[in-house]
């Protein structure tokens, strides 16, 4: 009890920046961030909080499934994430596991389209040097042999199997594969099954992959919590300086404009609720240009649980169990997707029609200032609710750092939200929600065996 009470009290004393959102001009991300860059290009973002116990130590590698531009290599970023736990010559796997176990840390890695992130969340600033030293060692000196990669490849196949019964996963795969022609967002993070099954043969490529992307000029450290910044930087310089830059320039293939609507469908082998997903090619994340920010707000206007169409289809008519829009921030232009989970297969066309009617309405009617204000409020309070721990702060901030390498992007994005007008929203609807720019995928079930 004492611990977190002291955290919040000390935070306020030290930073003088309470999370309250009432005051004009206060930033949604209220903590000071300090950035330093080593000679080899490694950027270090520090957010010191006087949490008396817990430090969140994140290593952000700005490489994800976006980097899988070569044929046959889908899923490789995620596969490589698994290899990062295999140890080094100085700290072999059993020793590494033993260290993590003794530390009692919350630790794992995860991969997405644009990044692969490794975190160690641990108690006690006395452990900081051990963590910096061990993390630096595995990023610089990772070592595994060909046998190890073959065994790990079958774990990935097992991970694929773990999700094989999820219709959402299969539908997302189909949507991407259908919507994209060239760009590596064509495949999901897990990758195509045929590429997963070829992973045991990719030892040499894995070495090339590490050399290209697991380099200080493609990585960022984010450390949040109870530590002394000068001491942290001293340790980081000591242990990370030998890490060699790569200077590799990734070229992702540009996705050509889509001029014709696409459709695909998936049959599910057992009973399931029907699914509809309509994807529209949209812009990349930007903390300066208005398009992405306006579309974020538009998605809320049109499809949040307080929107008219959600109220109609989910609550009143009860045709849908769920209805949503999703437009994750990505480094390259990506899909804004409208999804529906539909109770009866025969209602699928009516739901699709209702979605289009809503999109057409947005092209002509202006959103009220009051609704826009409610949406901005929702986004700010949603963000604030996750910022009460070191891990919560790191878990929020890392994402924006991975997009732009700039921890200031989060506040810049919210500044941009404040500038979005009802006319911007109408203009974005006109620009992006056109039939030739759409890809529609559906899933319906059969009889359960």
């Amino acid at each position: 009890m004492l611990r977190v009470f002291a955290l919040t009290a000390a935070l306020l004393l030290l930073l003088g920046t309470p999370l309250g959102l009432r005051s004009q001009g206060s930033k949604v991300f209220p903590y000071d961030t300090k950035v330093e860059v080593l000679a080899n290009g490694l950027k270090v973002v520090c957010v010191p909080l006087s949490n008396p116990n817990i430090i969140a130590y994140y290593t952000i590698v700005r490489s994800g499934s976006r980097n899988e531009v070569e044929p046959g290599k889908s899923g490789f970023a995620h596969f490589f994430e698994h290899m990062m736990f295999k140890g080094t010559k100085a700290v072999p796997r059993p020793v590494y596991d033993d260290y993590l176990t003794r530390l009692g840390a919350g630790t794992n890695g995860f991969t997405s389209d644009d990044h692969t992130v490794y975190f160690v969340v641990f108690a006690g600033r006395d452990n900081l040097e051990e963590v910096v030293k061990t993390e630096a060692d595995r990023f610089i000196n990772l070592y595994y042999d060909e046998e190890t990669i073959k065994t790990e490849a079958s774990v990935i196949e097992g991970e694929y199997y773990a999700s094989v019964s999820s219709p959402e996963r299969r539908l997302a795969e189909l949507l991407r594969d259908t919507a994209y022609e060239k760009h590596s967002y064509k495949h999901t993070t897990l990758g195509f099954l045929k590429d997963i099954q070829d992973m045991p043969n990719q030892y040499q490529y894995s070495l090339l992959y590490k050399k290209r992307f697991y380099a200080p000029d493609n990585s960022i450290l984010l450390v949040v919590g109870d530590f002394d910044q000068a001491r942290l930087m001293e340790l980081v310089k000591k242990y990370y300086s030998p890490w060699q830059s790569s200077n590799y320039q990734l070229v992702t293939p540009a996705e050509p404009p889509q001029h014709k609507a696409k459709r695909a469908r998936l049959a599910w082998p057992s009973k399931t609720l029907a699914r509809l997903a309509i994807g529209f090619h949209g812009p990349a994340f930007s903390d300066g240009k208005i398009d992405k920010a306006a579309l974020d707000l538009l998605a809320e206007v049109a499809f949040s649980n307080s929107s008219p169409i959600y109220q109609k289809l989910v609550i009143e008519e009860q045709k849908c169990q769920d209805l949503f829009a999703s437009f994750p921030d990505r480094r390259d232009p990506s899909l804004l997707t409208i999804g529906a989970v539909i109770k009866k297969d025969e209602d699928l066309p009516a739901v699709e029609k209702a979605v289009w009617q809503e999109l057409e309405r947005l092209k002509t009617e202006l959103v009220s200032a009051e609704l826009l204000s409610d949406i901005k409020s929702n986004l700010k309070y949603s963000l604030a609710s996750g910022l009460d721990t070191s891990d919560g702060v790191a878990g929020t901030l890392f994402f924006y750092i991975s997009l732009t390498a700039d921890p200031g992007s989060l506040n810049k994005l919210f500044d941009l939200y404040d500038k979005v007008t009802p006319a911007d929203i109408r203009d974005m609807a006109k620009k992006y929600f056109i039939l030739p720019n759409s890809t529609t995928v559906t899933l319906t079930g059969g009889q359960a065996k």
Partner: protein
């Protein structure tokens, strides 16, 4: 000032039944109790409104009643506002009310920024204390619950499906022995009047614990308590829980469906819970064997890391629901617990081998115990890792409430005190006393179920192959032992049912 003293001050000032940092054993069992965790400068406020009623309280023939009735409070209108209106008012506050129903308790949780506390609370209070019981909300939520049972659970989430089959098998004929959402037949029979009766019978002061944490203003808990004190005094009579039937030998339930991957869960009832002194020793052994998603776990090392069979393999000394990250969720306390092993989906061709391997490892744990080296490692691990359990306001409040449920001032502090005093012998004694490797219920989802049954009953060898042609010799040598490890499976102990037949009625389907 720490939170404990802070809330004691409240208690003295207010003269109400406010309990914080102390067990509320002496409170009148027919009146409200509370759990307070004030953190004055925190801008957030967490609510955990706990009802000491869960799915085990569902009357026979009305399984799923608690879930639907409480779901209607969390996702339905009030007497004065429709659910649509509530959703619209919640939206600018980014507010939502979550509900979790377990066997013996249910909890409404939410975290709200204190900027919005008064506006939010006025709505939340009416949702729980002045519910609308509207026909349209009832129809919507009933349809969702039926779809969950009939389509989603059986067709879209095999890992959860496997765990639920294990629950049905472990608690046959017991109040725990149905899915929390009930069964298709029983949910179809529920009426709005059933829900109203449920509310009247169970929304009684003595059933409710008001949990509040964070930066709420002075006087706020008193206001909440005064509102809830308008509920009638009283409580639902405590459920009599008979002991679940112990498995006799290896008992299999196989759900057959078309799938490339086999999901497996197995376990047996335990005669121990977190409230018992022996729990700490048993918990250490199970952490060694399969703590959730940690490299420490023996099963994880042997099945996933050495052999690449699947994504992970875990064991638990009590019912486990995953909360934030990989930490245990809170407010799902039970008087009766069970031991379980969860094998994540793996290729159908390796299913027989892995069943053998996991059961053999369990036998080795029971017979050989854990080494001094592992004992020391696991102890260090748990002493550090549990410091991460309670970080957010909601987690801290949840752990406080659960500590008191099981009779501790602070369970996580108790861990810090008790583990250093334990010895390897204590752990191995607990293993022998509470675990076994012969009387186990096994739930499997797979295809070609008859072939699996025949393989099991005939105890056929189950060799496997690897993509890696140079597997370590010690692994291959051990495989030769595993692939013929004898399992005594009697044909009448293997029940096969089509996946679609589960959750049609409460309990296991007929063969």
């Amino acid at each position: 000032m720490n939170a404990f003293k802070f809330s004691l001050t409240f208690l003295l000032l207010a003269g109400l039944a406010l309990a914080a940092g102390s067990c509320s054993k002496k409170a009148d069992p027919n009146k409200l109790t509370s759990e307070l965790l004030p953190v004055a400068d925190n801008p957030l406020v967490s609510f955990h409104i706990l009802l000491k009623v869960g799915s085990a309280n569902d009357p026979a023939g009305k399984e799923g009643l608690g879930q639907l009735a409480l779901g209607l409070l969390a996702n339905g209108g009030t007497k004065t506002l429709t659910f649509q209106e509530i959703t619209k008012r919640f939206y600018p506050m980014a507010a939502q009310v979550d509900l979790a129903v377990d066997k013996e308790m249910s909890v409404f949780t939410t975290t709200i920024h204190r900027d919005n506390l008064d506006k939010f609370y006025a709505l939340f209070r009416d949702m729980l204390l002045d519910p609308g019981f509207r026909e349209e909300d009832f129809n919507r939520l009933k349809a969702d619950q039926l779809n969950f049972l009939e389509k989603t659970l059986v067709g879209n989430m095999d890992e959860e499906f496997g765990k639920e089959i294990l629950n049905l098998a472990l608690y046959k004929g017991h109040p725990y022995g149905h899915q929390d959402a009930g069964a298709v037949e029983s949910v179809k029979s529920l009426t709005l009047d059933d829900l109203k009766s449920f509310y009247k019978q169970n929304f009684l002061q003595g059933n409710i614990v008001i949990g509040l944490a964070g930066g709420y203003p002075q006087g706020f808990p008193e206001k909440v308590l005064a509102d809830f004190a308008k509920l009638p005094e009283g409580r639902t009579p405590a459920l009599v829980l008979s002991l679940p039937q112990a498995p006799q030998g290896l008992e299999f339930v196989i759900a057959e469906k078309q799938t490339p991957a086999t999901a497996i869960s197995f376990g047996f009832p335990l005669a121990i819970s977190r409230a018992d002194d022996d729990f700490f020793a048993l918990w250490m052994a199970v952490a060694h064997f399969g703590e959730h998603r940690q490299h420490l776990s023996l099963l994880f090392q042997k099945i996933r890391e050495q052999r690449g069979q699947n994504y992970g393999d875990y064991a638990y000394a009590e019912h486990f629901i995953q909360g934030r990250d990989k930490f245990p969720a809170t407010n799902d306390c039970r008087r009766q617990q069970y031991f379980s092993i969860w094998i994540r989906p793996l290729s159908n061709s390796n299913r027989h081998f892995v069943i053998r391997q996991a059961l053999r490892e369990l036998r080795r744990l029971v017979e050989e115990g854990i080494s001094e080296e592992r004992f020391n490692l696991v102890r260090t691990y748990l002493l550090n890792y549990t410091k991460l359990y309670a970080q957010t306001l909601g987690e801290r409040l949840g752990w406080q409430m659960d500590s008191h449920y099981y009779g501790y001032q602070d369970f996580l502090a108790e861990v810090q005190q008790r583990l250093p005093k334990l010895t390897r012998e204590d752990v191995n004694r607990a293993v022998k006393k509470y675990l076994n490797f012969e009387n186990i219920r096994v739930a499997i989802i797979t295809q070609d179920a008859v072939k699996l049954r025949d393989d099991l009953v005939a105890d056929r060898p189950s060799p496997i192959t690897y993509a890696n042609p140079n597997m370590p010799k010690e692994v291959l040598d051990e495989d030769l032992v595993i692939q013929v490890y004898p399992l005594e499976v009697r044909p009448e102990k293997v029940r096969i049912a089509q996946a679609s037949s589960f959750f049609q009625k409460p309990g296991l389907p007929q063969q």
